[in-house]
Amino acid sequence: MRRVASALVMITCALWLTAGAAGDPADRLADPAREARARDLFREVRCLVCQNESIDDSEAELASDLRRIVRQQVAAGRTDAEVRSFLVARYGKFVLLKPPFDAGTALLWLTPFGVVAGAGLLLWRRRGGGGTDPAVPLSAEEEARLRQLET
C-alpha cells in the first residue's frame, strides 16, 4: 500500500514538474506593475503540497489557487506585507519561503553575519602575533649592528 501511495505521489509530482511556471496566462492582472508585484510575491510563497517549490515554479492545483489568491489580494490594493500576513494567518508560517524575523528565527537570520563578525573580530584580535610584525622597531643594539653591517 505504501509503495502504491508513494508511486502516486511521484507521478503527481512528476506531472507538476513537467509543466513549469507562472500558471495560466489568462489569469494575469491587467496592470503590469501589479502583475510584477504579484510575481515577486509568488517567489516568496511555498506551494504547500509540493516537494520544495514556490508557487511561481509549481503547476500543482494548490499553487494555482494560491496564485489566484495573491493576485486577488494585490488587485484589491493590499500591500506586500498585508498579503504575507493574510497567507500566514491562513496557512501558517510554513507558507513563506523567507521566514519572518522573530524570536524563533532570530538565530537563523543572525547566524551568517554573526559568524563572520565574531570570527573576524577574533582574527583581528589575534593578528600579527609578534615575530615578523613590521610595527616592532629595531632595538638600539640591532640598529648599531645593522649600521656596522652596512659599512
Partner: protein, 660 residues
C-alpha cells in the same frame, strides 16, 4: 547466479576492508613493512571485490534480470541501454554501491599513488580508509543490499522514473560521488596526521592533490546536475536552494576553503590545524549530504530514492565517523605546532579572509538547510527556509569575498604592500566600474542589482587576467622575456587564473540570466504566434512520435529571429511503464544564450490549443561554463603537482646516481 556472485563479492569486500584496516594499523604499531604491504594488498583487493559486485549489478541491469528486486523496481526491458546502465545508481541500494566503489577506489589510489608518503603515515591513512570502507560496505550489505532476489520475479520491471532518463542525469552521479568520496582520502590523511600528532608542510603537499581532484569532480557533478535541472524540470531554473542541492554545495564550499588553506600550510607552514579541521569537515559534510539526500528527512524536488528507516543508520554512521574524528581533533590538535607568522595584509591574510567567508558560507547553507528541522522539533510548527532567505544571506557574504578576491591574488607572502596591489588593479577596477555604470544607465527598470553583479563579474575576470599579466610582467619587459616567463609559469598559476576567471564567468551568467530573462506563456492554436524577446514563435504542427519506451506528442515550433528562421520540436513524452508524462524541452543556443521552449498540455475546445511557454535566457550557458572552467582550473593545477612530484623523484634519482 550473477546476483549471488555480486552479493558474495560485496561480503568479501567487507572482510577485506576489515583486514585492510587491521593489518595497516598493526603495521604502524609494529613498524612492520610486511604487514603494511599486506594491508595495502587488502585495500587493492577490496576495490577489486567491490568492482566485481558493481559489475555484477550492472550485468543484472543490462540483461534485465528481474529476479533481482532492485532491477525489477528500477528497470524495464524497453529502456535504452544507457539508462539500463544508469539505473544501476538510480536507486538507493545501487547508489550506495557506487559510493562503496568510489570509497575503495580512492583507497586503492592512495596505495598506488601515495608511494612517497612516509610509511607510517601511509599505513594509518590506508587503515582509516579501510574503516570507512568497512562501515559503508557493511551498511550496503546488511541494510541496503542491491542483490536481494525475488521469490516470484515479475515478467516486466517497474522502470526508472522518466525524468531520470536523461544522458546528463545518467552520468552526473559518478562525478558527484567521486567528488563526495574523494574527500574521504583527505579525511583519512587528516585522521592519520592527528594520530601521528605531527603536521609539516609535506602534509599539505599530499592533501592538496586529493582535495583538488575531489573538488574538481564535485564541481563537475554539481554543474551537470544543475544543467539537468535547467532543461529537464522545464522552467529554466538552475539552482533552487533545495536541500539536495545544498547537500552537495556544503562539501563544495568547505572543499574550496580547504584548497586555499592548504596552500598556506604548504607554502608557509601556517594554519596547519585549520587545514586538518577543514579536511575532516569536507568529508563529514559529504556524509551529511548522503544522509540528507537518502533519508528524505527534508522535502526536496530532487528526492528520488528515499528511505527514512535507513536514513537513521546513515545518521549513525555520520555521527560515529565525524564525531570520533572531531574528538580526535580536539584532543590532538594542540600538538600541531603553529607555523610561519604573517602580517594581516599579506597573501596569508587574504587567504584567511577567503576561508573565513567560505567557511561561513558553508555554515550558512547548513543553517538554512537544517533550521526547519530544528525549528519543528522545538516548536512543533513547520518552517520554510527557501531561496529568498539564501539570496539575502549567502549572496552578500559571497559578494564581499569576491570583491576582495583579485586583490588577494596580488598580495605577496608574509607582508604585502596593499597599495601596490591596488595600483596594479586600477585598470581592472575602472573597467568593472565603467561596465557597471554603463549597464545601470542603459538597462530597464530591473534595478541596480544586475549592474552590480555584472561589474563584479568583469572585476573578477579582469582581476584574474591582471594577476597573470603582472606575473609575466606584460608591457614591462621585452616580449621575448614575457613569452619566456609565460612558458616558465607553473601549471598551478594557470589553474588559479582559469578557476578565478570561471568564477567571474559564472557571476556574469547568473546575473545576466536573472536580470534580463524574458518569458512568455500562451495557449496557442495551430498557426498562432507568441513573441519572446527578439523571437517570434509560431506553432505550426503537432504530431505523434514514437520513442524506444515512450510515445510523444511533438510540436513543430517555427522561429523567426534576428539571425534567421529555424524550427524547434519540443515534446511531451508519455512513458507507459511508469504512466508518467514528461516534457522534453527544446533549446536553441545563440552563443551563450538560450531560447528555451516548453510544450505544455492540450486544452480541449472547439479548436484545440496547447500551452506554449518560451523563455529567452541570456548568457545562461555561462552559468554552467563558469563552474566547468573552475573544475578545469583544478585539474590543471592537479597536473602541475603530479609533474612536480615526478620531477622531484627524477631529481632524487639523479642525486642518488651522482652519489653512487
Amino acid at each position: 547466479m550473477i546476483a549471488e556472485l555480486g552479493a558474495f563479492a560485496l561480503v568479501l569486500a567487507l572482510v577485506l576492508s576489515a583486514a585492510q584496516s587491521a593489518l595497516s594499523f598493526s603495521a604502524r604499531w609494529k613498524h612492520d613493512a610486511a604487514l603494511r604491504g599486506a594491508g595495502e594488498g587488502a585495500a587493492l583487493a577490496a576495490f577489486a571485490a567491490v568492482a566485481i559486485a558493481f559489475a555484477s549489478l550492472m550485468t543484472a541491469f543490462v540483461t534485465s534480470d528481474f529476479s533481482v528486486a532492485n532491477v525489477a523496481n528500477n528497470s524495464h526491458t524497453d529502456k535504452p541501454l544507457l539508462y539500463k546502465v544508469a539505473a544501476v545508481w538510480g536507486s538507493h541500494e545501487g547508489s550506495m554501491l557506487l559510493w562503496d566503489l568510489a570509497l575503495t577506489g580512492f583507497g586503492a589510489a592512495v596505495v598506488l599513488a601515495g608511494r612517497r608518503l612516509p610509511p607510517g603515515l601511509k599505513a594509518l591513512t590506508v587503515g582509516v580508509q579501510g574503516l570507512l570502507g568497512l562501515v559503508f560496505i557493511a551498511y550496503t550489505a546488511f541494510a541496503s543490499n542491491p542483490f536481494v532476489r525475488l521469490a516470484h520475479p515479475p515478467v516486466e520491471g517497474a522502470s526508472l522514473n522518466p525524468i531520470l532518463q536523461d544522458p546528463f542525469l545518467a552520468i552526473h552521479p559518478p562525478f558527484l560521488y567521486s567528488g563526495y568520496v574523494g574527500f574521504s582520502v583527505v579525511f583519512s590523511l587528516c585522521v592519520a596526521v592527528l594520530i601521528e600528532g605531527r603536521v609539516d608542510t609535506a602534509f599539505a603537499r599530499w592533501v592538496r592533490p586529493w582535495a583538488l581532484a575531489a573538488w574538481s569532480l564535485l564541481t563537475i557533478g554539481i554543474t551537470l546536475g544543475s544543467f539537468w535541472a535547467y532543461y529537464e524540470l522545464g522552467w529554466g531554473g538552475w539552482w533552487f536552494w533545495d536541500p539536495v542541492e545544498n547537500a552537495s554545495f556544503m562539501p563544495w564550499l568547505v572543499g574550496a576553503a580547504l584548497l586555499h588553506s592548504s596552500i598556506v600550510t604548504e607554502k608557509r607552514g601556517a594554519l596547519a590545524g585549520w587545514t586538518v579541521f577543514l579536511g575532516l569537515a569536507a568529508f563529514s559534510f559529504s556524509m551529511l549530504g548522503a544522509f540528507l539526500v537518502r533519508s528524505g528527512i527534508l522535502t526536496s524536488v530532487h528526492a528520488f530514492a528515499v528511505d527514512p528507516k535507513r536514513g537513521a543508520i546513515l545518521l549513525g554512521i555520520l555521527a560515529l565517523a565525524a564525531g570520533s574524528a572531531l574528538s580526535l581533533f580536539a584532543w590532538r590538535a594542540p600538538l600541531l605546532k603553529a607555523g610561519g607568522l604573517f602580517a594581516p595584509i599579506s597573501r596569508e591574510g587574504a587567504l584567511v579572509i577567503n576561508n573565513l567567508f567560505l567557511a561561513t558560507a558553508a555554515l550558512t547553507v547548513m543553517a538554512g538547510t537544517l533550521y526547519p528541522l530544528i525549528y519543528q522539533a522545538a516548536t512543533g510548527q513547520p518552517l520554510s527556509v527557501g531561496a529568498p532567505w539564501f539570496n539575502l544571506t549567502f549572496a552578500p557574504l559571497m559578494t564581499a569575498v569576491l570583491i576582495l578576491l583579485p586583490a588577494g591574488t596580488l598580495l605577496s607572502w608574509k607582508r604585502a604592500d596593499a597599495r601596490g596591489a591596488v595600483e596594479r588593479l586600477w585598470a581592472a577596477g575602472l573597467l568593472a566600474l565603467a561596465t557597471g555604470i554603463g549597464v545601470f544607465a542603459l538597462q530597464n527598470a530591473k534595478g541596480a542589482f544586475a549592474a552590480i553583479g555584472i561589474a563584479l563579474g568583469v572585476w573578477l575576470i579582469a582581476g584574474a587576467v591582471t594577476e597573470l599579466a603582472v606575473r609575466i610582467r606584460l608591457f614591462r619587459v621585452p616580449l621575448k622575456e614575457v613569452v619566456n616567463r609565460l612558458t616558465g609559469l607553473p601549471r598551478g598559476a594557470f589553474g588559479m587564473t582559469l578557476a578565478h576567471i570561471g568564477v567571474g564567468v559564472f557571476v556574469l551568467g547568473a546575473c545576466v540570466e536573472t536580470g534580463w530573462r524574458v518569458e512568455a506563456a500562451q495557449a496557442l492554436k495551430l498557426g498562432d504566434q507568441v513573441q519572446v524577446g527578439a523571437y517570434s514563435l509560431s506553432l505550426t504542427d503537432v504530431t505523434q512520435a514514437e520513442g524506444p519506451n515512450y510515445s510523444a506528442e511533438r510540436a513543430t515550433v517555427r522561429i523567426k529571429g534576428p539571425q534567421g528562421d529555424s524550427v524547434l520540436y519540443p515534446e511531451r513524452r508519455f512513458y507507459p511503464a511508469n504512466r508518467q508524462t514528461v516534457s522534453q524541452v527544446a533549446i536553441e543556443t545563440h552563443g551563450p544564450s538560450d531560447l528555451y521552449v516548453v510544450f505544455g498540455e492540450r486544452r480541449e475546445g472547439t479548436d484545440p490549443s496547447w500551452l506554449i511557454r518560451a523563455y529567452w535566457n541570456p548568457w545562461a550557458r555561462m552559468i554552467f561554463g563558469g563552474p566547468l572552467l573552475m573544475a578545469l582550473g583544478g585539474l590543471v593545477s592537479l597536473s602541475d603537482r603530479r609533474l612536480r612530484m615526478a620531477a622531484g623523484a627524477k631529481a632524487r634519482a639523479a642525486a642518488a646516481g651522482a652519489r653512487a
